[in-house]
Chain length 599, copies 2
């Protein structure tokens, strides 16, 4: 279409969401025009010390910012929209289309980050079609998911239509009555879908994902039959779940206190847009609720994943400002732990029980269902869209593999699908799909202060510090290789298998040994200038000292603490040990007496 010699090609470049759960971020590129589909965040793994948020490395988009024609948000979850506020600090996005709820949540984030002026947000309704650039025409197809107002996309390009499912399950009885627009999927399938990019989160799980509504009778039973005060925790973004809990609170005559910033935020926006319908007077601030009889109160709060700072975790530790557990309280977990959060969640449950709460939790209670489709949902998606090519997305490697097996079982040939990683460049033409290239990809780690990026080097240092601690040694040495003061040794986070004082003495001995036995190696005479000069290789001194001390630490501690060695050289010379400031490797001094050299 665009080029004479090569076939018209759609490049699909996922920057996040592949081989992982989270930070879904995908680029469609055609004829120098880029469409960005979702831009989410992920949460740090255990090894990412002090990291708060994980973003994809956006080098490729930053370098191609002039090509960006617009972006789409499929729905309002953090792993689909959470990255946008960060990215807008690096490049503008002319326009972002998305559902009302997602854009309402996004607008707040952009405002907070001070980047509202770097894009335009435009809400879309189901079956609305928008054009982005010359190459992309996007139809928004209502789907069903755990958050309200979620879309599957039909992206029509010059070479054909690509269906981008976003997150979905097939829920025939959705809580808000907004059914999956199966007709539209089928219509595209009948007209011909070139490629399907589909959510793989639950591709390992057989069967269908139950309807969100299946939780209702169980919540009804729990909320209706519990005596005393009731606390319920769930994902703030699970708008349907929150809706049901509020409805059931009203039904059973309980006022609701909402606790936790994200819960308050989502409820406010969802009510504002009509996704949650309830009376204003259902809500009572927590200080008023505490005056009501216990059986009239339902506290709805964050912390279903055992997040350290969320309300439920603080309550379990007994350090929530306003809420203390008392005997007779019932706490309900209407969420399953995400893998990796299990230990935190069961710890919170144990602590709540120890404080006297009755805790209702666990898969057997029927108080949670997933928002992602299982194997039969995937088969239905494939059956309706009948794609020529297939690319499983949103999932860890084995989920992508399972999803591709499902597609193969439906008759799609293995050669017509690709399992890709973040940064892979998939080239899609009307009759081929292949991984053609790679662009820069990786992680940007935002630290707990949310202001700085945590680099690999910093993480490695933190890992070593966490494992083995740090030993700091400060030594001041004069021109003759003599200590000008007693070396200082500080030990932090180190397991001392010997008395700290003995260890310090050993280190001091090391220093003295190096200085007495090897000083000559570091000293040379330079008579190139008029006056004879004494030259000391301070970097060499430091390296030798470090080697010797490290050997001692390994031998004595049988561990490998980080060693910070500070060498103070004579005042008339600037320090030569600061690598970062690139000092000269040697120091010089005019000699007054040659006799002093040979010590």
């Amino acid at each position: 279409m665009s080029k004479n010699k090569t076939k018209p090609t759609l490049k699909i470049i996922p920057l996040g969401g592949l081989h992982e759960i989270g930070k879904n971020t995908c680029i469609f590129e055609f004829d120098d025009e880029i469409l960005l589909l979702d831009a989410g965040i992920a949460f740090p793994t255990e090894a990412m010390h002090g990291v708060n948020i994980v973003l994809p490395d956006m080098t490729y988009l930053r370098e191609n910012r002039h090509k960006i024609k617009g972006a789409i948000a499929t729905h309002g979850h953090e792993d689909h929209i959470g990255g946008i506020a960060y990215h807008l600090k690096q490049f503008d996005i002319p326009v972002i289309y998305g559902p009302r709820l997602a854009l309402a949540l996004l607008a707040g984030k952009l405002e907070e980050a001070g980047v509202s002026n770097r894009t335009k947000l435009k809400t879309v309704m189901p079956r609305e079609v928008v054009r982005v650039g010359k190459s992309f025409s996007i139809e928004f197809i209502r789907n069903t998911h755990s958050i309200a107002d979620s879309f599957t996309l039909a992206v029509t390009t010059p070479i054909g239509t690509v269906i981008f499912t976003g997150d979905f399950k097939v829920d025939h009885t959705p809580v808000d009555g907004e059914k999956f627009d199966l007709y539209k999927l089928a219509e595209y399938g009948e007209k011909g879908v070139l490629c399907l990019l589909s959510d793989s989160t639950n591709a390992e799980v057989p069967g269908f994902t139950p309807s969100e509504r299946s939780v209702y009778p169980n919540l009804d039973r729990v909320i209706g039959q519990t005596p005393g005060r009731l606390m319920v925790t769930t994902f703030a973004s699970s708008v349907h779940r929150v809706n049901m809990i509020l409805e059931l609170a009203a039904k059973h005559g309980r006022f609701v206190s909402v606790v936790g910033r994200s819960m308050l935020n989502v409820i406010a926006h969802a009510r504002n847009l009509g996704y949650i319908k309830c009376r204003d007077d259902l809500f009572k601030p927590i200080h008023e609720a505490s005056k009501l009889p216990d059986e009239k109160v339902l506290i709805l709060c964050t912390g279903s994943q055992g997040e350290t700072l969320a309300a439920m975790s603080r309550i379990s530790r007994g350090d929530h400002r306003q809420i203390q557990i008392k005997k007779g309280d019932t706490v309900v977990f209407s969420a399953n732990p995400i893998p990796g959060n299990t230990i935190s969640v069961v710890n919170v449950i144990d602590e709540l029980m120890k404080l006297g709460a009755n805790v209702i939790y666990g898969r057997r209670q029927g108080l949670h269902v997933s928002g992602h489709g299982c194997q039969e949902d995937h088969k239905l998606m494939l059956a309706l869209t009948r794609p020529k090519f297939f690319m499983p997305v949103h999932g860890e490697h084995r989920m992508l593999v399972q999803h591709s097996k499902i597609a193969q079982s439906m008759g799609i040939r293995a050669s017509n699908m690709v399992i890709v990683d973040n940064g892979d460049v998939v080239e899609l033409t009307q009759d081929s799909i292949r991984i053609a290239d790679r662009v820069t990809s990786g992680l940007d780690l935002v630290d707990s202060s949310r202001t700085g990026m945590v680099r690999d080097r910093v993480l490695k240092e933190r890992q070593q510090l966490a494992e083995d601690g740090v030993v700091t040694v400060a030594t001041a040495i004069d021109w003759d290789g003599k200590l000008t003061s007693h070396p200082e040794v500080h030990i932090r986070g180190v397991v001392a298998t010997m008395e700290p004082v003995r260890l310090k003495n050993k280190i001091v001995e090391d220093i003295e040994k190096v200085l007495t036995s090897r000083w000559k190696e570091f000293v040379s005479l330079d008579n190139s200038s008029e006056q004879e000069e004494l030259e000391v290789d301070w970097v060499g001194v430091k390296t030798q000292l470090e080697r010797q001390i490290q050997r001692t630490l390994r031998r004595e501690l049988q561990s490998n603490p980080m060693l910070v060695c500070l060498l103070q050289t004579p005042k008339d010379q600037p320090s030569t040990t600061e690598r970062e400031s690139k000092p000269p490797a040697t120091g010089r001094r005019r000699r007054r007496s040659t006799a002093r050299v040979a010590s």
Copy 2:
């Protein structure tokens, strides 16, 4: 019996295993005689940086070592015998009774730790009764568990019999044919059991735990039908599982290469004692196996929990010396991840898949069953033993609570049971059970080198180092509050939200600011002695410098790195900043000129 005024009382003091999974360690104490029941280890949680093994704090036993009459090992799992080698360094144990397999494994550990001479190991057979001290008579009742040769104990004391289940499930078709001796339990029940202490691990799970044998047909299918090379990983200590895998390898014409130290160790002992029966020529060392056709090889290895250093994890990272994954390999996980290990395990699975292996994993494969009884097993135990008092043990808090509910549903009154924590002293008499006291309890953390103990302070320091890194500042100051050299600043593991050089300059500015604006505060004149002396409060100087630098770090970095501040004072005075060596808080110098004081 022993005392006139108070009723004869059995003290039950769990030091480990309560409110947790692992390090099961329980004391029975009667009339100044102590019987120790199991002494295991636990594995560290995420927050225990650099910790390898977790032991209970044994202060109570150490202080009462003269009372120790003997110990029992119920079975050979690490969480029941792994602590003994460490404890024997603190106190002797006159005799340890246990099943042959457990004591064979234990003997190796004691040998390795060089403490074999601090106890005597005596093997017992089913229904054997041993006497320990004057107060305890113990009958060993065969039970069924995931390791072979496991016992439930009937401990008869002057006030009655206590049944101590150890780990168990009720397996009516055990792999080794050694059935649960239900008659003995029933007999004790009929005669009258004073108290039951029972394993609570699976008390949250409804139903019966399936027989270990239920795994057989699934393993048979997988091992029989897999083409190419096969690798199987499971718990080394799951002797029955290992036995089945070896049997099936032989059945399907595969030689077995055993990889991983603990797997080799357990198989050697279990074969030696006849718990595993197979021909010698079934085994091939890995270098020989690599010359065989792939379909003739089964590699049995450690690493089913994704442990970083275990064979399967190294294979998945491509850094195992002898085994590389090649396309066509099949890897079988015959184990479920223990909560907390899930992420490590799925990462290993993903990496194996990426290397081209077909990986068979997950609960739906039927390749693993638990070794611990579920709710119906617990009911059977309660029905057979019919205890007057009940104490759920071995489990996290919510498991203990669930187990106590099961007991209540069987008719035991809540007032006849206690839910206890490690360190609680339970006083059991013929007609009462109550928590009467507490003894020292807690954790001893053994570090990765296995030589040192990780103290709380060290852990807290490591946590801070891991979260925020460390800033080291070295300053040399003379008697006049002047810098004698440029301060050195080193930053490690710190997220720099500004140029490191700028941060360092700010810190140097801080130091200069404190020295110029506040030096007078730190200096005083002492004319008590003949010659006037200048006194400098070096501790005060250091404290002020630290405060100022910390403020700057918090403001500039929005984080709280550890600050190590090293102050070099003039050479003629020893350093005053080493808290550990308790220096004088002030330094003195003879003055030559009074004019120098007022700067």
